[in-house]
């Protein structure tokens, strides 16, 4: 058994190494470099460096050394846990990530919890009242919602909820320069800012969880133990949640871990719309200014999370399979 496990670990290690290498070369493959910029967006100003200045900066950031040498340096730093110094943001990449990651992780985790919880409940209820009017309405609206692209939903929410009705703040992670009397007021303010991004991401994921939970509950309901439960005269709420849900929730859980990869992609769009201080805006900015060090750092973080999540999903799926079959 452990020969198999070492093989698996070796597999994951190799994948990780390849991803690290890709992370190093992809940014550098992108045309242009962090210092040459001859143009800027309308109304904006950009400092145009002379050739000499560009050379000096390249020397400063060690980009004049041959690519192989830079790669070895990059690996060495990585082992020491030092992700390098961001060219554009003039800050340690680690500290940038330390400040920005919690924001993104917060809205991602919150929206995953909300969408999976709501999706499962709605899916189970919709399966319980199968082919009733409620089920049909829920089904069509959920299929529709799951197709609306996240960025469209974001814009919609921004302009109606924040703009027209002023229910929520327009942007940012927390209101600036205000005097908070108590700690909980800070949290409330942060939550208040987080509601719209979380709502957008949840709606984007809600349809998916609803459909999975519905089809999984439908298959569970055809099983004999559900008939046993009904036979035992238990209340229908208990049958649905205690007996049904405990079985139908398992595929939803694996889906949660698997969808983490795609949700990061959507987070990039959402954060740009709400100007939310997560790594989404960071990633887009980093790519636009070709800040190689920063891009490497972000993608490493994303790659690690996605890999671990897939790994956990595989484990759960094996555990789930062996027990249920």
């Amino acid at each position: 058994m452990n020969r198999d496990r070492t093989k698996m670990l070796l597999g994951y290690l190799l994948t990780f190494l390849i991803i690290i290498t890709l992370n190093f070369f992809i940014p550098r493959l992108m045309p242009g470099d962090p210092f040459t910029s001859l143009s800027s967006e309308e109304g904006d100003i950009t400092v145009i460096y002379s050739e000499e200045q560009i050379e000096r900066y390249k020397r400063y950031y060690g980009m004049d050394r041959p690519i192989a040498e830079q790669y070895i340096g990059y690996l060495k730093n990585l082992l020491k846990g030092n992700l390098g110094y961001s060219i554009y943001y003039n800050q340690e990449v680690v500290s940038i990530l330390k400040n920005r990651v919690p924001w993104t992780v917060a809205i991602v985790i919150c929206s995953l919890i909300i969408s999976s919880f709501l999706g499962t409940i709605l899916g189970s209820i919709s399966a319980w009242f199968r082919n009733s009017k409620l089920d049909k309405i829920l089904y069509i609206s959920m299929v529709f919602i799951s197709e609306v692209p996240a960025f469209l939903m974001g814009i919609l929410l921004l302009f109606f909820m924040a703009g027209r009705w002023g229910l929520f703040p327009l942007s940012g992670g927390m209101s600036m320069f205000t005097q908070y009397s108590t700690k909980c007021e800070v949290i409330l303010d942060i939550l208040h800012h987080a509601i719209l991004p979380v709502m957008t991401l949840s709606i984007a994921k809600l349809g998916e969880f609803y459909l999975i939970s519905r089809s999984s509950m439908l298959s569970v309901m055809s099983k004999d133990y559900m008939k046993t439960a009904r036979g035992k005269g238990l209340k229908s709420r208990r049958i649905l949640f205690r007996h049904g849900l405990k079985n139908s929730i398992l595929p939803v859980i694996t889906r949660i871990f698997l969808s983490l990869g795609s949700i990061f992609g959507q987070a990039v769009l959402i954060e740009n719309i709400f100007n939310y201080p997560g790594i989404g805006t960071l990633m887009r900015q980093g790519v636009m200014v070709r800040d190689y060090v920063l891009i490497q750092g972000i993608f490493l973080f994303v790659a690690i999370t996605v890999l671990t999540m897939n790994f956990i999903a595989d484990l759960i799926y094996k555990k789930l399979d062996s027990r249920v079959r």
């Binding site: 099983k223 004999d224 133990y225 008939k227 046993t228 439960a229 009904r230 036979g231 035992k232 005269g233 238990l234 209340k235 229908s236 208990r238 205690r242 007996h243 405990k246 079985n247 027990r323 249920v324």
Partner: protein
């Protein structure tokens, strides 16, 4: 079960005119067709029948957990409360509180993600007022009650073996001391040792707790050990109902007899014969459900649906012809021969009756009057006194041997039963030519069919062969073909195989039994060989010096 006792007072559960229809995607199937029965306190009612006969649907209807696609008509009275029209909430109180079910044992019957303890515990909490501590103890001693180690409660269902799972189901069912326990196929998936264990457990538990029980199964030997009364079902209707031993002894409905015959446990020596053809899925149809597989069916049977009615004390049958009809009834037959001065009493007051589709064996040493009685029955020989009734009409001379669907006889000596100078065709077609019932041109075709039935070649070459070129076995088959061409209702086979070598004997016997099972005629088989008798006989008569007595098949060794 010896506990017959009298069931005073009104029945605990009475089901009246219950019909269940499943609405499929394209058509509606009738699973249960107007069934009524009742169950008294402490009684055990067995419901037996092939799969798809609606027995499980009845159980589910009583519990009210039929799938949404089912439409239920009729009433289910429990303690004279019609639980059929109760609200879900009220019905829940009856479920498990009053009536509990031991579900059919399958991999999924217990929830895979909940422990055994929890699945039993939740019933107790739901239906009784016990608190957590008491409920836990109740679960422990329930498991001990069914002979399981209490540790099992922490396991998950898929850790248990089939037998253990069955015990857990029983423990779960008894958790709220139900008044009625419905047991659905308790032993079908178990090995023989586990089967016995479960049966004794159920009997013991019923004795202790005195709950009424409905046992549903398709294994007749299991149900007969448990049930006081038996109810045989076939595609949604009750065919026969009565005390278990009476039904096992003398099944009155042809389906019940067929069902019992196909169980090796009831009579271990007999050959196994299933009921021919298949039960087609019964969408809405009129007439008797067993019509297409019954051999004594009439035109009426396809029109009028038989009502369940009493044919004897505590015995009901649903058959337009009152169950299996007696084809032949011979009463006080006496026959004496004058033989160079002294009288030989061939038959003294012989009484014999043969029911439709039965194989009755007449056994006795040679000279005990077997052949005499047989020839009297066929009308060929006149009896001194007493009379023979065939299908209710007196047998006189050859009135029944000369008509279709009458009586035919096949004799012992193959060489003398056929005129060897005739061709095979002429030999077989003789009865038709004599009686002239069938027109000329289709006779040849009927001969070929008869030859095909008796597994002889039926090409023109063989038809034209002279009988003297045939072997004993072939001649006996030709004789058989000749008698079968008249499509008899009763075939008398007088020592047909004793003259043949063993392998031909076995083939002829199998052929005979096969034809009987396929065509449904009754057979009076005369032999002196005990083993053959046990092999093929439904009932046995033994003759000794002219007097006849019916013996039990099992103990004639």
């Amino acid at each position: 079960m010896d506990m017959k006792g009298d069931f005073m007072g009104k029945p605990l559960l009475s089901v009246k005119n219950l019909s269940i229809e499943y609405e499929g995607a394209s058509e509606r199937t009738l699973a249960v067709d107007d069934v009524s029965f009742s169950l008294n306190r402490g009684e055990c009612l067995g419901i037996i029948g092939e799969s798809g006969s609606g027995k499980t649907s009845i159980a589910m209807a009583i519990m009210g957990i039929l799938p949404s696609s089912a439409h239920v008509k009729g009433s289910i009275m429990y303690d004279d409360v019609n639980i059929q029209c109760l609200s879900e909430g009220e019905r829940n109180m009856y479920r498990w509180g009053e009536i509990a079910v031991v579900f059919q044992n399958s991999l999924d019957v217990l929830n895979p993600v909940l422990t055994v303890h929890e699945q039993i515990y939740e019933c107790i909490i739901e239906h009784t007022s016990l608190y957590k501590g008491e409920a836990d103890r109740r679960v422990e001693n329930l498991l001990e009650l069914v002979g399981l180690d209490p540790q099992v409660s922490e396991h998950y269902p898929h850790h248990l073996s089939g037998g253990m799972r069955q015990k857990v189901l029983i423990a779960m069912a008894l958790s709220c001391n139900p008044k009625i326990l419905i047991v659905d196929e308790p032993t079908s998936s178990l090995d023989p040792w586990a089967k016995d264990e479960i049966i004794h457990l159920l009997k013991e538990l019923q004795r202790q707790n005195n709950f009424a029980m409905i046992v549903i199964s398709h294994e007749i030997h299991i149900i007969s050990q448990l049930a006081d009364r038996l109810q045989v079902m076939y595609s949604g209707c009750i065919m026969e109902r009565g005390y278990t031993e009476d039904i096992l002894q003398t099944p009155m409905h042809s389906y019940t007899r067929g069902f019992i015959n196909s169980s090796p446990y009831i009579n271990p020596y007999k050959d196994l014969w299933g009921i021919p053809s298949e039960a087609y899925s019964s969408s809405i149809r009129k007439g008797c459900p067993f019509y297409n597989r019954c051999y004594q069916r009439l035109e009426l049977c396809s029109e009028k649906k038989p009502e369940l009615s009493y044919v004897a004390t505590e015995r009901e049958i649903a058959c337009n012809r009152g169950g299996i009809i007696t084809i032949l009834e011979a009463q006080d037959i006496d026959k004496t021969y004058e033989f160079n001065g002294n009288e030989i009493l061939a038959c003294k007051g012989c009484n014999i009756h043969i029911r439709s589709g039965e194989t009755v064996v007449l056994m006795g040493e040679s000279g005990s009057g077997k052949t005499t009685l047989a020839t009297i029955i066929s009308g060929v020989l006149e009896a001194d006194s007493g009379q023979v009734q065939f299908l209710g009409k007196r047998v006189e001379g050859n009135n029944f041997t000369s008509q279709m669907g009458g009586i035919q006889i096949v004799f012992q000596d193959p060489f003398s039963s056929i005129n060897e100078f005739l061709t095979v065709e002429e030999a077989i077609v003789e009865p038709l030519t004599i009686t002239g019932i069938v027109e000329k041109d289709s006779r040849r075709h009927m001969v070929k069919l008869a030859l095909k039935d008796v597994q002889l070649p039926y090409d023109d070459g063989f038809l034209a062969r002279r009988c003297y070129t045939l072997s004993g076995g072939q001649r006996q088959r030709v004789a058989l073909a000749r008698s079968l061409i008249m499509q008899p209702k009763l075939l008398i086979a007088d020592e047909v195989c004793s003259m043949l070598d063993p392998s031909t004997q076995a083939n002829i016997l199998r052929l005979l039994k096969g034809l009987q099972n396929a065509k449904g005629f009754s057979m009076l088989y005369i032999t002196h060989d005990v083993a053959i008798a046990q092999k093929i006989a439904d009932r046995l008569y033994v003759m000794h010096e002219g007097s006849i007595s019916e013996e039990n098949l099992l103990d004639i060794r």
